[in-house]
Structure formats: structure tokens, C-alpha cells
Symmetry: C3
Subunit: 148 residues, 3 copies
Amino acid sequence: MSPLSADPSFKLFALCCAILSILMLMLAGMTAARRSKAKKYLNPEDSKVSFAGATQIEGAEDAATARVQRAHRNLNESLPIFFGLGLVFVLAGASPLGAKICFAGFTAARILHAIAYLNALQPWRTIFYGLGAFALTGMAVMIVVAVA
Amino acid sequence: MSPLSADPSFKLFALCCAILSILMLMLAGMTAARRSKAKKYLNPEDSKVSFAGATQIEGAEDAATARVQRAHRNLNESLPIFFGLGLVFVLAGASPLGAKICFAGFTAARILHAIAYLNALQPWRTIFYGLGAFALTGMAVMIVVAVA
Amino acid sequence: MSPLSADPSFKLFALCCAILSILMLMLAGMTAARRSKAKKYLNPEDSKVSFAGATQIEGAEDAATARVQRAHRNLNESLPIFFGLGLVFVLAGASPLGAKICFAGFTAARILHAIAYLNALQPWRTIFYGLGAFALTGMAVMIVVAVA
């Protein structure tokens, strides 16, 4: 067992990483499922393996599929920052309290953001996006403080 | 030399990271090369530096360019999860056998996925995508087991 | 304080991560601001919370918004590679001089790339993109050398 495994901040970060990765994979799976349901494909070869009567479109996406995809892409623009800053945060030994608030806060905000996006709930989507961005900004600031 | 450098799981992860990063940069380069060949640009300023007779389009993409770009984006949605989970996996000291299978499996699956995407090979593209997602899910589960 | 916090390569990497994360969040914020200014929305629910007279479009994006979004996406395709390779680089204890050149070089190149993209400055955008990709390639090569 590595010494990091005993660090509560690392344990929480590891758990958050696992949860958010599963969320990311679920949104990717939902995009594929919606696209299949809409019987519209971006690649001509896809309609052959799925439905005989599927429409072949290059570059256009069904509206319901596009919504899931935007939720997916939004997470994809946010999650890598969390992975990068989170590990640096833990390895720098920055504030354990800050870790608890930012890691749990970001994870909760992104799960709720995905739910709000898929269900077209405004202003909740923007609020949860803002909370996630706020957690990342806090982590960046605390990292600079920890290594300065 | 850091103690991690002697850990076989870390060495394999480092190698996989290097390979997948080069694959990512290659797909980015191919998108630019195809776009240049198609003489269609998303930015008006690009046609001036490249070809006098290039078509200026804002927001539309050539079909062959769009295919490379989709392969690139697909990797971009998957690779950050591998980077994040992989490092946490190694630092948590999770199963060395699991590391071997998941790290090598994910890397092979994503190289084959890119080849299948660029050559429009179905159902192979979906199979390799599924194997990659399966490796990531396995890593997430093993991380939770390791820190729990 | 963790032993890594005393490593100059780690400190530089941590600082670069914080700066690039803020850049990423700024580009995300600018996309939203431009979209709001153009009064065009991808999601029907967004026009209700913002402007009464906003046009509701699904899937199309205003030209000025699309430019910021392309700059944002370009960084999003590059930053996760830096996060992944950078941490592996530091943890592998690879060349401290290489770390200084690649970490600072990548960070400077990506800030200048964003400025060049937003102001439609060619060939500067391509030059700064190339410098960033060159730094990442150098990091990948030095990682392989360090663990081999």
C-alpha cells in the first residue's frame, strides 16, 4: 500500500474521479443510444450495422442527440481540469478542508449540471456550472498558495 | 530517480501516456492536413496563408476532414479519463495485474479505434470503443476497491 | 508538507496547471458572454432566462461565438495531454531542465495561441499551436527515456 492511500484527501479525490468518470461514460453511452433511437447517423457505415431504414446524414445531428452531446462536451471541458488540478492539489499537500469542499462540491455540481442539462432546467444548469467553475478556481488559487 | 520510477505499473502507465499523446497529436495534425487538402477553412484568415483560391466557410467542415475530427474528438473524450484514473490507480497502489490488463488494453483499443474510424470499419469501431470504455470502468471499480 | 512540494519541477508544473486552468475557464466564460451578446442560443430554455427577444436556434452558433468556442476547444484538446504528461514527467523524475523549457514553453505558447485565435492573427496562431505540440512531443520523448 502506498503512503498516499492513507491520505484522506487522496481517498476522496480517487472516489470523485471514479464517480465522474462513470458519469462521463454514461453521457457518452446516452449519446450513442439517442442517436440510435433517432435513426440518424454521422457516419454512413453506422446505418448499415444498425437499421436498414436509417437516414444517412453527414455532419447533422438529431436535436435530442445534440442535447445529450452538449451535456457530454460540457463535462469534457471541465473534467480534465479537475483531474489535473485535483492531483496537483493532493500531491502539493494543500488544505485538507479545501480538498473536502472543492472535490465534493465539484462532483455534486457536475452531477446536478448533467441532470439539469438533460432536463432543460434553467437557471439551474447555469448555477451548477458556476459552482463547478468556482470549485476549480478555488483549487487553482489554493495550489498557487501551497507551492508559493 | 524517484521511487515511482521503479514501479512496473507506473512505467507501463508512463509509456501508454506517451503513446496515446502522440496518437492524439497525430490525429490533430491529420485534421489540419485534410482541411488544407480540401481547401476549406473554418477561419477566414486561414485561406490567406494557405491557398489563394481556397473557399472561405465559417462553421462548415469538409466531409473527409469531419471524419478525422470525429476520431480526434472521440479520443479527446476518452483520453483525459485514462490520464486521471490511470495516475490515481498507480498512486493508490491498486492491482498490478489489473494495471497491466487495463493500461495495455485501453492503449491497444484506442489505437485500433482510431484506425477503424478513419477507415470506416464497422462493427470494429464500436467494438474497440466498447473495449476502451470497459477498461476505464474496470479501472474506476478497482480504484474504489483500493481506497475503500 | 509533501516531499514533492520542494521539487522545483513540481512547483513549476503546479503553477502552469493553475494558469492554464484559469485560461480555460476564461475562454468558457467568453463563449457564454459572446453567445449572450449575440442573443442566439443552442438551447431553447436559455433564451427565456436571458432576453425576451432572443432567437432560438438549435445547433447553429453565431460566428463570433463560434470563434471563441474554437479557441476553447483547441485548448481543450491540448490541455489534458499537458496535465497527463506533465504529472508523469514530474513523478518519473525526468530532466529538470526539460521540465523548465517544456512547462514554461507550453504555457506561454497556449496563452499566445488563445490571443492569436481570438484576434484572427495568422500565421501566429499556427506557429504557437506548433510550439505547444512540440513541447508535448518533447515531454513524451523524455518520459520514455526516463522510464526505459
